[in-house]
């Protein structure tokens, strides 16, 4: 296939790859063959006839479609012969017969291939003066995508995308001839999580962005190549803005990360940069109320407040919450401030020290494209990273790669061939042990070492069919290039250490430890750790007792760094509750929103600063609230789950008087420690990144410039993590009993009830804002779908709506994170999410989700 051959186009000899499509060969040689239906990421179809050219064949010159014709040695084509030109003009005239030509009000106008090609290849006039066909205009396919059937040129791109990538055929063609229209299949909805990609693909203005509708004309946009900051995949996108307001996001190609796709959350949920709810001025508590203040006042108040606590109770009485939602620069500077200025290691973020993530994240996202087995453990890419989920589906469909899924509820991807194992919380360790044992047994047959005592002592769990366990063990053992990802579900809370050890045992027994990676859900969960927002590690993920690292950083920061480890995220909140911590600096985190009971702890503090976009539940308790700038309003870098450091440059100016995190911290540090001003003199986020490359060894070869538009990964082997077979101890979970009969299962769903959607009101009602039970369990409780229910654990109770879902394991209840007005954190006890709950009907109905 890849041998170079010679073909002739318009009398010019060009080099082509044997068997590639003529359109591709011509494009490489700079010969323009217009296309509509053909697209590099979709299978060739030949639907629109725009690419007609002549080919010399033994039967004479034939008109063929270039987009479906593979080239062979010696083939001769004519692109600009009279007949070919005439045929293409005819095609365009045909397409335009019924085209409404409402370019002035069409969102595609100005970047419309139909406009461009009509100018370049069209006949310039039409034979027709009859009335045009009228079809549906302004027809919503969903809350996000709008269809204008009159503009559709029947290229099938949208249909093919949904089929070939999303594997959800939700659009089709109906009727025939001039009456052909695109529509949803009867009774279905366009609800694929990456449906917005059809907008980018549509070569005309038939499919348009319903949220961005009429808010821009393409020629007036400023285009900033950036990334999505909604999840750990870090899909590349372009921010299109005008007059300092973000107008839309469109996908940007990066083959290693997102190919050229975005999920609908990343594409449409862009409201946080201009939401009317944003904080636009600093707030300072005066007379018990938060009141608008100048930056001068607010910063002096922060300096005073922190100084007072440090003077009275020492730096250990101050803690900082960093965040996986904001940039490396913000996290780095907050760490530098805590360690280098205040002298405390009390810094952590929610996905930080409490999460047993692999410090290197995932080996590489692109590995799914070449993997021969995909193993997903306690993660659900279809809800958490829809673009990655599409790659996984495609691997299954196109390359028959088996999927081995271990999850507490049945995720969407479990519909693909492979093995699905469904351990309830508490059953994971026996399951992984059984898998390890089966793997070792299989290896023993091949003459390998014996099974260790501590493992063979376990009894095989009855909950899992022996064949499925055998099959799963065999799949991983025999795989050569498996893609193995574990996620948050098994890496957090009570017992996670044991689960991870048991998992590692299995993977180690199969000999694939270097392919086991962690799928970070938050955009910068990897980066925040890399740059040192952790209580036990310095920037570069180096331990606090690493003398060399300390000395380096002390020179860079012109200060002394304390050696004793600080408090972690929950440790700080506990310390606040019992009065050990007196002041907190919270950046882009909302512990009270996650768990209202945390408010009691934070109220004990004598000083609380919150640096945020919105007035969150935590911010409402603060003494000073500093308005921060969002992802689009300042430059920064984010490190995705595969350690790829990517740029998110400033696209618009900060809203109101809000200021970028780095700038706020810069001013704060300079005021707090005038003697350290030489260590705090970076004047741009790019300069802060330059400093990060000096502080973080893994980032040493990077610079803002050389990150380029596709980012740079730091090497997997820059850190080594020991992963060997070892005995483990899971610890006992609370068993369900009569009082609390259900095990709680938590997890993410794409359409959650969080800030991102609250700030984009057109999306706020998407998805199912409800807890889910298996229909049988609901029936036995006498509950029906839509009932208002109360979920109660020993720690607390929340009220929400009930949704019935057969994918939920009987005996468990699924409560998503960020459920609107029902923070699942309320139910967590000291053991975190792994608890048992009772479910009951509430008579007074709670407000139904809109």
């Amino acid at each position: 296939m890849s041998d170079w051959i010679t073909i002739t186009i318009d009398g010019r000899q060009i080099q082509a790859k044997d068997g590639e499509l003529l359109t591709d060969a011509a494009r490489r040689a700079g010969i323009d063959i217009p296309v509509f239906c053909s697209h590099p990421k979709l299978d060739p179809l030949g639907a629109c006839r725009m690419c007609l050219v002549e080919q010399e064949t033994p039967r004479g010159k034939l008109l063929i479609t270039a987009c479906t014709t593979p080239v062979r040695e010696g083939a001769v084509f004519h692109v600009s012969s009279e007949r070919a030109v005439d045929a293409r003009q005819g095609t365009l005239e045909l397409i335009l017969i019924n085209h409404p030509l409402d370019c002035p009000i069409c969102d595609k106008g100005g970047e419309c291939p139909l406009q461009d090609q009509t100018l370049k290849h069209g006949p310039g006039k039409s034979h027709f003066w009859e009335e045009k066909q009228h079809k549906a205009k302004n027809y919503p396919l969903s809350d996000l995508v709008l269809l204008d059937q009159e503009r559709c040129i029947i290229c099938w791109r949208c249909i093919r995308y949904l089929q070939e990538w999303e594997d959800k055929p939700q659009l089709g063609l109906f009727h025939r001839g001039g009456e052909t229209v695109i529509d949803k299949f009867p009774g279905t909805e366009l609800n694929a999580y990456t449906s917005g990609n059809v907008i980018d693909l549509c070569p005309v203005g038939a499919l348009t962005n319903r949220l961005a509708r009429f808010s821009y004309r393409p020629w007036e946009l400023e285009k900033t190549p950036s990334i999505c900051t909604h999840c750990g995949q870090g899909c590349n996108l372009r921010i299109d803005s005008r007059s300092h307001r973000v107008r839309r996001h469109v996908a940007r190609e990066n083959p290693a990360v997102n190919d050229e796709w975005l999920c609908d959350k990343g594409r449409f949920a862009d409201g946080i940069s201009f939401s009317a709810d944003r904080l636009t001025v600093p707030l300072v508590r005066k007379d018990g109320r938060l009141q608008p203040a100048t930056w001068e006042e607010a910063l002096s108040r922060v300096v005073e407040g922190l100084k007072e606590v440090v003077d009275r109770s020492g730096p250990q009485a101050v803690g900082a919450l960093a965040s996986a939602k904001v940039s490396n620069e913000a996290n780095y500077l907050l760490g530098k401030f805590m360690r280098g200025v205040l002298g405390s290691n009390n810094i952590d973020y929610r996905e930080g020290s409490g999460l047993l993530a692999d410090p290197r994240g995932l080996p590489a996202l692109a590995d799914v494209h070449s993997a021969d087995l995909i193993v997903l453990i306690g993660c659900d890419p279809a809800e958490e990273m829809p673009v990655l989920a599409n790659f996984i589906k495609r691997a299954s469909i196109r390359r028959s790669v088996p999927l081995l899924i271990i999850h507490a509820r049945r995720p969407e991807l479990a519909r693909y061939p492979g093995v699905f194992l469904n351990p309830a919380p508490g059953e994971e360790i026996p399951l992984f042990d059984a898998l390890t044992r089966a793997t070792l047994e299989a290896r023993m047959e091949a003459g390998a070492e014996a099974i260790p005592d501590w493992l063979s002592a376990e009894t095989p769990p009855a909950a899992f069919p022996a064949e499925a366990v055998q099959e799963a063990a065999r799949l991983l053992l025999n795989a050569e290039k498996p893609f193995i990802a574990y996620g948050m579900d098994y890496a957090w809370g009570f017992g996670a250490r044991g689960i991870l050890a048991a998992l590692v045992n299995w993977v180690a027994a199969a000999g694939h430890t270097e392919r086991l990676g962690f799928l970070h859900i938050q955009a910068n969960a990897q980066g925040a750790g890399d740059v040192g927002a952790l209580p036990h590690q310095l920037p570069g993920r180096r331990p606090l007792n690493d003398e060399k690292a300390r000395a380096e950083l002390e020179a860079l920061w012109q200060s002394t760094i304390p050696a004793q480890p600080g408090l972690g995220y929950s440790g700080m909140i506990d310390a606040a509750a019992n009065g050990l911590l007196k002041a907190m600096y919270v950046m882009a985190a909302d512990p009270v929103g996650e768990k209202p009971a945390h408010a009691e702890a934070l109220k004990q503090l004598s000083f609380l600063v919150v640096q945020e976009l919105f007035l969150t539940e935590t911010a409402k308790l603060a003494d000073v609230v500093l308005p921060a700038a969002s992802y689009a309003e300042t430059s920064g870098t984010f490190t995705n789950t595969e350690r790829r450091v990517q740029r998110a440059p400033q696209a618009v100016r900060p809203l109101g008087k809000s200021a970028p995190d780095w700038l706020i911290l810069m001013h704060l540090a300079r005021r707090f420690a005038p003697d350290k001003q030489n260590a705090w003199n970076t004047t741009s986020p790019e300069a802060v990144f330059a400093e990060i490359t000096r502080a973080v060894p893994q980032y040493r070869d990077m610079s803002w410039e050389n990150l380029g538009e596709e980012g740079r990964q730091w090497p997997w082997d820059a850190l080594s993590v020991s992963r060997e077979l070892q005995a483990h101890n899971g610890g006992l979970l609370n068993e369900p009993d009569d009082e609390y009969p259900f095990r709680l299962v938590v997890g993410n769903q794409l359409w959650d009830g969080g800030t991102i959607f609250a700030a984009t009101p057109q999306m706020a009602h998407l998805g199912i804002q409800a807890a889910r039970l298996h229909p049988d369990d609901a029936a036995s409780l006498g509950l029906a779908a839509g009932d208002a229910i109360e979920i109660r654990s020993q720690a607390g109770a929340i009220q929400t709506t009930l949704h019935l879902d057969p994918n939920i394991k009987p005996g468990t209840i699924f409560v998503p994170f960020s459920l609107r007005d029902a923070p699942v954190g309320t139910l967590f006890d000291s053991r975190g999410p792994r608890t048992v709950v009772a479910v009951s009907k509430v008579e007074a109905p709670v407000a139904a989700p809109a």
Binding site: D102, I105, G109, F214
Partner: protein
Amino acid sequence: MSGLKDVIDGALEIGRAMGVTLKTAITEPPVTVEYPDQPMAVYPRFRGRHELRRYENGLERCIGCCLCEAACPTGAIYVEAEENDPEHPLSPGERHAKIYEVNLMRCIFCGDCEKACPTEAIVLGHYIDLAQYDRRDLLLTKEDLLNPPAPNTVIRPDA
């Protein structure tokens, strides 16, 4: 001696010229327009202050397409479009201008915006009283443009 002759000749010339002036002042009517007390005469295609026109049924012609803005060589126009409320549309079709501004401090009255407009919504009218005391008053809003003041002009026949 010629000095005296020059003086006399000069005086005679001035006297003759004054005579012409006097004669014209008495016999011919004045050509000066007492603007603004009297209306100014302009040609039909004179390009004065912009107006946004409406259809007879009262709907705005402007569909917020921004083509005028794109055509304007000085960046004097700013348009933000919005979707029509189907119940109470401001213009025919799906789209109207939410914001429409013309910055007269930039405008060079070239008329390109007129030419670009697909609906003949923006036109340069005959209103010429453009002086203002405040710069801000030179920024015409959509309201200003939809409700142009009556021009203090008379139309001169096309020569």
